[in-house]
């Protein structure tokens, strides 16, 4: 028997929630997957394109796949005069000139600068596949997975593709599983989110990483709150940090053998355990209230 509280009917349907943390392994995917599963219907978007793992829990069916490409330069040896303006321009050192121009595809960040700067118009663009976006369904959850090919410079183009408006259905809540850290790929993932959930561990290292994403969401002027994961009895430095900085604590997930076992068996806790169905339903309710109360977003 699965517990479904009455308030679920009142969930904000089209909110976009991004889940992030300063480091890997804090519980972003745990929180994101279980929030999506706790909702009546949801879109789950895995933006952790370097190591997407939400699909392991959802096991989506009916998968369709789309390739993601970027533009990289291609040199016309006939037109190239060897002036090397492009080589000197490239801040990523993706170009070298010996007796002809050499382009290092893996190093190129697709900024297009070399093509603009070439006085001989010897450089043109060509497509290069850097990864894929997979779409599938798992029960009432639409599952989007971004997969970046090994060795590519940046996952940003894949995240842009994942977050295209048509992937976020109007009558569904969208939950975004962000990459770890606070770099460009995370910025791209939270850019259009209505609300950010920061997941934190109860350690000093956890506080350091929480502070990184705290600074990021503050810079982005996003409304946000913290989920304290792996909670043990005793002092929680992440909780202390939240209290000191007046940060809303949305919920607490215990450091629990049952949850750990479910998770490591790629089971969605909400679907297997009444206790966790309730915990994540209450968390979803809290987040929904937060989103609704922040009005302007």
């Amino acid at each position: 028997m699965i517990f479904t509280p009455a308030f679920m009917a009142a969930e904000a349907t089209d909110m976009k929630i991004a889940v992030l943390s300063g480091k890997g392994g804090t519980g972003k995917t745990l929180v994101t997957v279980n929030l999506a599963a706790a909702a009546k219907t949801a879109t789950y978007i895995d933006c952790d394109v370097e190591e997407p793992n939400g699909h392991l829990f959802f096991k989506p069916e009916g998968i369709t796949e789309e390739k993601v490409t970027v533009k990289i330069p291609m040199a016309d040896e006939e037109l190239c005069s060897g002036c090397r303006k492009c080589v000197n321009f490239c801040k990523f050192n993706a170009l070298a000139y010996t007796n002809k121009l050499i382009v290092f595809d893996e190093i190129c960040h697709s900024c297009g600068g070399c093509i603009l700067i070439c006085p001989e118009k010897a450089l043109t663009e060509k497509d290069k596949v850097i990864g894929t976006v997979q779409k599938g369904t798992s029960g009432n959850v639409s599952v989007y997975t971004g997969i970046m090919n090994v060795g590519e410079a940046s996952g940003v183009p894949i995240i842009k593709k994942l977050l295209e408006p048509e992937n976020q259905e109007a009558d569904k809540m969208t939950v975004i599983d962000c990459p770890p850290g606070s770099a460009c790929i995370v910025m791209e993932s939270i850019k259009d989110a209505d609300y950010c959930i920061l997941v934190a561990e109860p350690t000093l290292f956890g506080v350091h990483n929480l502070n990184m994403v705290y600074e990021l969401v503050t810079l982005f002027k996003k409304p946000f709150g913290v989920v304290l994961n792996k909670c043990l009895d005793g002092k929680n430095p992440a909780e202390t940090f939240c209290i000191e900085n007046n940060i809303k604590i949305l919920g607490r997930i215990p450091f629990d053998n049952e949850l750990g076992t479910l998770n490591s068996n790629a089971e969605i806790a909400v679907n297997e355990s009444e206790k966790y169905r309730e915990l994540f339903s209450v968390l979803l309710q809290t987040v929904t209230k937060e989103v609704q109360s922040c009005g302007s977003c």
Partner: protein
């Protein structure tokens, strides 16, 4: 002919730098004139692609050979395209390696490592 060596300091008795792309200096030595020059490696602080930029400097300084303990595949691609031979250094100072090179005692470097940023080994 000119040979280039990645070095830690601007002296002939300097250690060879363990990294090619991130070496602070390159010693450029002319085997005919016995003249040596130290050039600063501006690639050393690059966030990425240091080996490519460092190799470009070796090309631009018209060295015919590079003496280095190790070298990445990207740098090797640039050096090979320019016809620059890559030799593996031996223990000892820059001068020891110059002597070994002129005596024909250095062997060609043939195991290039993949980049540190996930470049596929294809």
């Amino acid at each position: 002919m000119k040979i280039a060596i990645p070095v830690d300091n601007k002296t002939l008795d300097t250690n060879i730098c363990a990294s090619f792309g991130r070496a602070p200096y390159f010693l450029v030595y002319d085997t005919e004139t016995k003249e040596s020059a130290f050039i600063e490696n501006t690639a050393a602080t690059s966030p990425g692609g240091a080996g490519i930029k460092a190799a470009q400097m070796i090309v631009d300084n018209k060295a015919a050979a590079l003496l280095t303990p190790r070298c990445g595949q990207n740098a090797a691609d640039v050096l090979n395209a320019a016809g620059i031979k890559i030799y593996k250094t031996i223990a000892g100072s820059a001068q020891d390696n110059i002597d070994a090179f002129t005596d024909g005692k250095l062997s060609l470097l043939d195991d290039f490592h993949a980049g540190f940023h996930g470049r596929r080994s294809n």
